[in-house]
């Protein structure tokens, strides 16, 4: 099965019942498959007039209590940024699949890239925190998309599935599980203030149409949900909570594959470059090479680095100019070597092996 189709199937298995989208290469197959399958499951597919409207419709649908998603690529992702900030401040669960392509601008529509990794984390204005997953196989397109809905409902944040054109258009064997784990949205208790959170920092969800009479606004709001845009303390408390609810859970939700924790040289990768690294590890006869493959990229859990106590060097191959390498460097005093790659082609395993010989 193709990666994009697996993504759509994973969403359907997770109970996604609303898809608002706009055609954009290389993500269209997700929308096409949803258009085919959603009506048969009682869901709604709607093709909106642009990506701004797509994410808007997804957020609107999410407030009626359904699991909703959209899929896009670079240019569309840029258009969504404002409304993603709206989803953050209103704490709306939604899943956005970004099948990354070469940028900036129209760039390389049919070629892979990982250039939106910082955009998905910081692209909208203001301070906030989100969750981003990065699949490296067709199987993970299915599994991680399904997981994205659980994370989104649990933390009430937009969750990004940051795939790339290679994974999206790759065909591999997919094992469809009988059921996918499902964690439902915590609903607001009647009588509670709609934006007052408990210890988990995530307030219950006041679904529209259930008599909560909740006012949801993109303005800074107090715990009643009423606009309160000029009080410094209300804004500070709100933004701190929005960030902390995700960041405080970063070790708990971190998800990565760890190979050879005793290694001296460790590759760190996510998405398509992981496959080149796997090939290097497969081909090499050395036993001091490790691999940290991030499945959950944001929030970046720096504790993962300490799982390699003997590591002297981290090598980070990415299909960009070192976006995550910068984040990794921030958390360690060991050597971090970014291996940037632009243009759409994957790292050649022999190049990575050659680099390995130079480093150690």
């Amino acid at each position: 099965m193709q990666g994009n189709t697996a993504c759509a199937e994973g969403a359907l298995a997770a109970g996604c019942r609303f898809f608002g989208g706009y055609p954009i290469t290389p993500s269209t197959e997700v929308a096409e498959h949803m258009a085919l399958k959603l009506p048969k499951t009682g869901g709604v597919f709607i093709q909106m007039e642009d990506e701004i409207a797509s994410i808007a419709a997804v957020i609107g649908a999410s407030w009626t209590g359904v699991r909703a998603m959209t899929a896009t690529s670079g240019p569309g992702f840029s258009l969504m940024m404002e409304n993603l900030g709206f989803a953050v401040i209103t704490e709306t669960p939604c899943v956005v699949v970004n099948i990354q392509r070469g940028g900036p601008s129209t760039g390389q529509p049919t070629m892979a890239a990982q250039g939106d990794m910082l955009q998905c984390r910081f692209g909208s204005h203001g301070d906030y925190s989100v969750i981003a997953l990065s699949p490296a196989s067709v199987q993970e397109m299915y599994d991680l998309t399904a997981e994205a809905f659980n994370l989104s409902d649990r933390f009430r944040v937009p969750v990004f599935v940051m795939a790339d054109e290679i994974i999206g258009h790759m065909r591999e064997k997919l094992v469809v599980p009988d059921t996918v784990p499902r964690q439902e949205r915590k609903l607001l208790k009647k009588g509670d203030l709609p934006f007052r959170a408990g210890d988990d920092l995530v307030p219950g969800f006041p679904t529209f149409g259930k008599g909560y009479s909740v006012h949801v606004t993109g303005l800074t709001h107090d715990e009643r949900g009423y606009p309160c845009a000029t009080s410094p303390s209300v804004h500070e408390d709100l933004v701190n909570r929005l960030v902390d609810k995700v960041e405080s859970a970063r070790d708990a939700i971190s998800s990565a594959d760890i190979v050879n924790p005793d290694a001296r040289v460790v590759f760190i990768s996510y998405g398509a470059p992981s496959r080149a690294v796997q090939q290097v590890l497969h081909d090499t006869s050395r036993d001091d090479i490790g691999h940290l493959r991030l499945k959950l990229v944001w929030p970046f859990a720096e504790s993962l680095l300490s799982r390699f106590p003997d590591a002297e060097t981290f090598i980070v191959p990415e299909l960009n100019l070192g976006q995550m390498a910068r984040e990794i460097q921030r958390h360690t005093d060991r050597t971090v070597i970014p291996v940037p790659k632009l243009g759409g082609a994957l790292h050649n395993p022999s190049d990575l092996a050659g680099l390995l010989e130079e480093v150690a």
Partner: protein, 262 residues
């Protein structure tokens, strides 16, 4: 129950300036909603950004105050995901016709079952009185200090041409008629668009020879021309002055609608 029961009493008085027509349009809309006998639980108000868009915050139902221009797109998602909800959109001229113009015409084309009430004050009020797509030619604003040199949008004509099922225009002076028009929109399946011209004494009126709140209301009163009368005048070959405001139900039809309650 009366329309007054729909207000979020703890948030009143609202932030609108002295004499702002938006409050009047909220009264008329809520009165129409109340006449329909709808439950608060099944009614959702959606809005974008601007003076008009603060309205849902004063209404005690579920409400979504969204980003600039995107209210109709958010409302589309709500309505499609749960057609049992009654979705009403409050918007302004800048919100609807400038930044949200694309969402507006596509919602008309889809003929999705929403009621959109546009408070057209012919200016960007919240940001301090800049020219909008409906600022009449020659009118002064902070960004058209020598008079607007652009033609203004005919929002109702746009909605009707794009396929909306129900289109009406009134002003904040015509409270009874406006209430009836909104009610007509709520009853009519498909996309209903009600344009309510409102006075903005703070930012439009004081720059355009309506120094008092009442001056602009008097203007609405004297320059309103019922559509039936305008049609008759055209038939008789009489010229309708350019500054007349054509009011009334401008379109009512029964094209297939999307997202209608099952």
């Amino acid at each position: 129950m009366t329309y007054a029961d729909w207000f979020r009493e703890d948030r009143l008085p609202h932030i609108y300036c002295v004499g702002c027509g938006n409050g009047t349009v909220i009264n008329c809309t809520l009165s129409a909603v109340d006449q329909m006998g709808w439950e608060k639980e099944e009614t959702v108000f959606v809005s974008g950004i601007g003076c008009s868009s603060r309205a849902p915050g004063y209404i005690v139902t579920d409400s979504l105050h969204t980003t600039h221009g995107r209210a109709i797109a958010f409302a589309t998602g709500i309505k499609m995901a749960n057609p049992d909800l009654r979705v009403i959109v409050f918007t302004g001229d800048g919100d609807l016709a400038a930044i949200g113009g694309n969402h507006f015409i596509h919602a008309c084309r889809r003929n999705i079952d929403l009621t959109v009430v546009c408070m057209n004050n012919m200016i960007y009020g919240m940001t301090g009185g800049q020219g909008s797509p409906t600022t009449p030619p020659g009118a002064l604003s902070t960004t058209t200090p020598y008079g607007s040199g652009e033609a203004a949008f005919d929002l109702c004509g746009l909605a009707a041409a794009a396929g909306a099922n129900y289109v009406a225009r009134y002003t904040s002076y015509h409270v009874k008629e406006l209430t009836r028009a909104v009610r007509g929109g709520l009853e009519n399946p498909g996309f209903s668009f009600i344009e309510a011209l409102v006075q903005c004494p703070t930012n439009y009126g004081r720059r355009n020879k309506f120094r008092q709140v009442m001056d602009q209301i008097e203007y609405f009163k004297s320059h309103a021309l019922l559509v039936q009368k305008a049609d008759r005048m055209r038939e008789e070959g009489k010229k309708i002055p350019d500054d007349m405001i054509i009011i009334g139900i401008l379109a009512r039809r029964n094209r297939p609608a999307l997202g209608v309650r099952k």
